[in-house]
Symmetry: C2
Subunit: 341 residues, 2 copies
């Protein structure tokens, strides 16, 4: 397929953003972990193949998938010969890009470090890993001439990492405020509409919006990892040592939500960071009652939003789907494109 | 300066997003045009020099500035030896990146074409040029292995071009709706607050938010160029032949604004594009009365906003400063970084 490919509509594709008359470049992708995000990514890569060849001149070829249980049902057909349960076998695979979709530290950290050390590009959605080791992993990537991409680690499909790495990086960012945890926002939206918190949580777990163990969402540690990453990108502070004051959601937020309603406000679980005039950065995660007409009050269900106030751009607002396999996989796919261009 | 540079706060800079221990790479920048955007860019490059060296490992060195009148007052000190009024002299300059900040077609188009043909990266804020010749210029860039960046052409500081070129490019975008003209939004915000349109226009011109000749803003052609570019990026259609139905603002919008108020709504000047199930793309620019609680009703003054609805991401909203030299220059600077990374 070439730049003058015929798309589904039968119209000539004018090849935005990067038309190429050459045969598509094959990019070999090794995927570590095939849960919700990994399986969504495999589906997206297959569905977008023709468009990616026409638009971006690349074809992503899955060359190895690291899984714990090859027999597990994933809602997507995976060729048996691509699956491996052996970390050594996976790391030996000759890939251009390694996608880490395992989460947590062990063995995700080993996958990322060894892939970068071998000069492979790495794409990850792993907020805990980036919050703890982002600067060191970035140095390793830079030293090896490899690309480290993690758009999906913060904000799901909301392009906040790209924005802070791009024109806003170092451009006099003053404050960052946002709703960075889709699970708690989904719960608080239901509570604001009259559902009891305990019922909303049970419903969210049944529908897959909350994990079986939602404690890192409810106690604020998930949002804290994300605001650490954004503060690192905005100001260059070490995310692992940044002081984040975290106030968990109350075990029963219903009374606080009722108080918000009585005050014509809305209870939201916010995260923020600010750089003072002396250069110190302070960050926080806490439940806040905000006025009903505040822009963040309109962020509903599993949406995320980030407001970035900077000297050169004023207030920039980004808002969109923050949770769910397809939003995260879409961000990972954007990173794959960014890594190989 | 190195990756362990000391930033203004005295804290060690942890080098997000790309720390480098090497000496900064010097990137030679030739600037065509030094009006509001060009002068703001020169100021920004100087102000951010230390941070860019530490964060991104690059130093932008201005090597030539093409101007019509070297004696003109620009609010920024320009070394005389960098200035030239000769197009041939400018095009012969050995630069890594050419920034086109002239606007319009002649001589902007020649600058962009010859720079790309010489294999130089090009950054431009020129919406008319990209709307008319984007695909051809992109092919030229691709053939030469050069980068063509135009984030500032649409949305000012709102990162919509980057977003559509990245994870959303070809990802089943269904509709794009937005406020793409900051001048008319500034005027309609004043009108909604009770100012007569004629007075608001005079005020905007005095304060530099509206040009002496604002006809391309008021008749919708500016917004039409921008929605053409977004439709090209989203769906690969040829922007120059895309049918955009353009309805100008009424010569006196006061009665329509009064009607909006009577209906508890707000008059906004919107642009949009939609891809039908048969693959055809339709685009439009027109004044619309929207409900007061609609997200676009909260876009005030010179702000721009873009809402992108896609299969994989649902509704993504981007909102921020759309007009003004510093927002545009900031987007150009982000493109400069993107072009050389």
């Amino acid at each position: 397929m070439t730049a003058s490919a015929i798309d589904r509509s039968g119209a000539r594709d004018h090849g935005a953003p990067r038309a190429r008359a050459r045969a598509p470049r094959v990019v070999r992708v090794a995927l570590a972990g095939c849960g919700t995000v990994g399986a969504s990514l495999v589906t997206l890569i297959r569905r977008q193949r023709a468009l990616f060849e026409a638009r971006h001149g690349v074809t992503f070829e899955l060359v190895r998938i690291l899984v714990r249980d090859p027999a597990k049902e994933r809602g997507v057909v995976l060729p048996r010969h691509l699956l491996t349960t052996s970390m050594d076998d996976f790391l030996r695979t000759d890939a251009d890009v390694v996608v880490e979709a395992i989460g947590g530290f062990d063995p995700a950290e080993r996958v990322v470090r060894e892939a970068l050390a071998a000069g492979r590009h790495v794409v990850t959605a792993n907020k805990a890993l980036i919050a703890a080791h982002g600067p060191a992993l970035q140095r390793l990537a830079d030293d090896q001439g490899a690309s480290l991409q993690f758009e999906a680690a913060v904000g799901g499909g909301v392009p906040v990492v790209r924005t802070l790495r791009g024109e806003l990086g170092g451009h006099g960012v003053r404050t960052i405020t946002g709703i960075l945890n889709g699970t708690t926002n989904f719960l608080l939206t239901a509570v604001a509409e009259g559902t009891r918190f305990a019922d909303a949580l049970r419903d969210a777990q049944a529908r897959g919006f909350a994990e079986a163990d939602p404690s890192r969402d409810l106690n604020g540690l998930d949002a804290a990892d994300k605001i650490r990453i954004l503060a690192w990108l905005a100001w260059g502070v070490d995310p692992s040592t940044l002081d984040v004051r975290v106030e968990p959601l109350p075990a029963d937020p219903d009374p606080l939500a009722a108080l918000a309603k009585a005050r014509d406000g809305v209870l939201k679980y916010l995260a923020g960071a600010v750089r003072g005039d002396d250069g110190t950065v302070r960050a926080w995660v806490r439940p806040v009652i905000i006025p009903r007409d505040h822009a963040l009050a309109a962020v509903r269900d599993e949406e995320n939003a980030v407001h970035i106030d900077s000297e050169s751009l004023g207030l920039l607002r980004l808002q969109g789907r923050g949770a769910g396999g397809s939003a995260t996989a879409s961000a990972v796919l954007g990173d794959l494109l960014g890594a190989v261009r």
